[in-house]
């Protein structure tokens, strides 16, 4: 079945995104990896919607795309704020709060 291929792709994308968030230190790359995980979930939703023959999953995917766009806007704004303060952005340098 062709759907299984899409589901496998979704799982791989999700895993790649997860590994990326954990390993990369740049908040920008982290954000991109989280977006990858989101889109993996979207792909799964759309594939499942086709398998079940109803629209719930597609509706959910559409809403998630909108949410992800808003989230990216906020995330980029926060990263720009940090970037203005320092020359380069690295999550290891962001450590004035500790405990």
């Amino acid at each position: 079945m062709v759907e299984n291929g899409y589901l496998a792709l979704a799982a791989v994308l999700f895993a790649l995104g997860g590994v990326g968030v954990l390993l990369r230190r740049s908040p920008l790359i982290s954000l991109m990896c989280v977006e990858l995980m989101w889109n993996a979930a979207n792909l799964a939703f759309v594939t499942f919607a086709r398998m079940h023959g109803n629209m719930d999953g597609q509706v959910f995917a559409f809403l998630t795309i909108t949410v992800a766009a808003a989230e990216a806007a906020i995330g980029l704004a926060l990263i720009v704020l940090l970037f203005r303060r320092r020359e380069h952005v690295d999550v290891d340098d962001v450590h004035s709060l500790r405990g």
Binding site: V34, W38, A40, A41, F48, V67, L78, R85, L97, G99
Partner: protein, 489 residues
């Protein structure tokens, strides 16, 4: 003349409380453009919250809205919805009230944006609590989270605020991606996003996939409620975020996330094969949250950070009720709902005191509490009472909250967890006492600490509620337990 509501479309009535709040949020946003004086807009936001409560009262009267689902099964009318929406609105009202003096001092350029974001976050939370469809629960969660990220970073020129916002954002975004993936698997297994239908369809689903989805969902919500080991963002976010915003975080978004947890797990994932599994997982999370939260809180020197770890440990206490709810739904979930209310009412006063310190240009370190009993005896004694409530000593509301959780744990067979909760309450005396010692037994040269009328109101309401709701807890817990009678069965 009594108003006859039977002719009004119940669809309109059930959406009225969030509707009123949304209208006020938009009106305040527009008036901001034309008004030089911003302070009255804070009052207007508060009026919006109060009117929303009034609308909720109308909608929740018997017969006004028959129990069931409205708006294409998106919004649910039941006691659970009414109770949680009321709790969230109370939290939002208290937050707006204790921010009124702080915002003009620290955020002079973005005053109205602050109230705006609090209102929109509350709106998202109301939908989280009011829906039985994971689509709307997820959207509500995102609306409230995204408003919260911005709130955390509102102090634009303070690097600590930037850092708090970034950490909160990255962790929150990761959590919501994990949650979303779990929900997509659940949808794949059942073909629906509506929880009661999901419950029916889950019987045929293969168990390994179902457990995988469940673990994703638990991890996603675990981040949002800051249960250990998913709590690492919380101390940094609480310490760096503007103080009233940290107070908001500790009260409202968590309560909404707990409501969503109860909905999803009791209405959607309550088939016997998985119930045992999530119950045990939540019990483990509960034990780790209590221990990690309390033991780390002992070493903190910043009170905001201490309160963050304290909130992690309180998430652990609440998880006792969630774990118990798998085996004794009414008692377990009823105890959780009551504890949410008690935690919000108690926390409001403590955060108001922190805000008061910042209003006088002081910090929120442990040392800033030195000699508070000299500087403002009424506030110091109020704080003592509120800490007593957080520890769980009678006759405060915190004691009754813990008692109901304890009872639920024992009834569900989690005696070890209930005992661990009692031990942890004893540990928590250590760090609350550190603040009390500073307040009462240290001398200071600082002048009297003035609260201002709105902060006084919050502290007074908080103290009053801690005493009154505690002693009069039986109707509240009965309502909270009855809320579950309509939930999914």
């Amino acid at each position: 003349m009594p108003i006859d509501l039977s002719s009004v479309n119940p669809n309109l009535l059930i959406i009225l409380p969030p509707g009123v709040l949304a209208v006020f949020a938009l009106v305040v946003l527009v008036l901001d453009l034309y008004s030089q004086e911003k302070r009255w807009l804070a009052g207007l936001s508060l009026v919006g919250v109060l009117l929303s409560l009034v609308a909720l009262w109308f909608a929740s009267r018997p017969g006004a809205v028959p129990p069931g689902d409205y708006f294409g099964r998106m919004v649910t009318a039941d006691h659970f919805t009414f109770y949680m929406v009321a709790v969230l609105l109370v939290a939002a009202g208290l937050v707006i009230l204790f921010s009124m003096d702080w915002v003009p001092r620290r955020l002079p350029k973005v005053q109205v944006e602050y109230y705006e974001l609090v209102l929109f976050a509350t709106l998202g939370m109301m939908f989280m609590a009011a829906s039985r469809d994971v689509t709307l629960i997820y959207l509500g969660l995102e609306l409230s989270s995204q408003a919260s990220y911005i709130l955390a970073g509102l102090l634009r020129n303070d690097p600590r605020s930037n850092e708090a916002a970034l950490k909160y954002f990255l962790n929150g975004a990761l959590a919501s991606a994990v949650l979303l993936f779990g929900l997509s698997i659940l949808y794949g297994l059942t073909g629906t996003t509506y929880l009661p239908e999901m419950l029916v369809a889950l019987g045929q689903a293969p168990l390994p996939l179902l457990v995988t989805a469940m673990v994703f969902v638990i991890a996603g919500f675990g981040f949002k409620v800051a249960a250990a080991p998913f709590h690492l963002w919380a101390p940094d976010a609480y310490e760096g975020a503007p103080t009233p915003v940290s107070g908001f975080f500790s009260m409202a978004p968590k309560a909404a996330a707990w409501a969503a947890v109860l909905r999803v797990f009791l209405e959607g994932l309550s088939i016997p094969q998985v119930m045992d599994k999530w119950s045990v997982l939540y019990a483990v999370l509960s034990a780790s949250s209590m221990l990690i939260g309390n033991l780390t809180a002992l070493w903190q020197t910043n009170v905001k950070r201490m309160m963050a770890y304290s909130s992690v440990s309180h998430a652990g206490y609440i998880l006792v009720g969630v774990a118990a709810a798998a085996r004794a739904p009414e008692v377990g979930a009823g105890a959780v709902l009551f504890y949410l209310l008690s935690y919000i009412l108690t926390n409001a006063g403590i955060w108001a005191a922190l805000v008061a310190l910042e209003n006088q240009g002081e910090g929120t370190e442990m040392a800033d509490f030195r000699g508070l009993a000299q500087r403002n005896p009424a506030l110091a004694w109020s704080l003592l009472l509120l800490f007593v409530s957080l520890i769980g000593i009678p006759p405060t509301v915190g004691f009754f909250g813990k008692f109901f959780l304890f009872r639920a744990g024992v009834q569900a067979g989690y005696v070890w967890l209930a005992v661990l909760m009692a031990i942890n309450s004893a540990i928590s005396v250590g760090y609350y006492y550190a603040v009390v010692r500073n307040m009462f037994f240290e001398k200071t040269e600082k002048p009297r600490l003035e609260l201002g009328s709105s902060l006084q109101a919050v502290v007074a309401l908080s103290v009053l509620a801690v005493l009154v709701v505690g002693l009069g807890s039986s109707p509240v817990i009965q309502y909270a337990e009855a809320a579950l009678g309509l939930l999914g069965r």
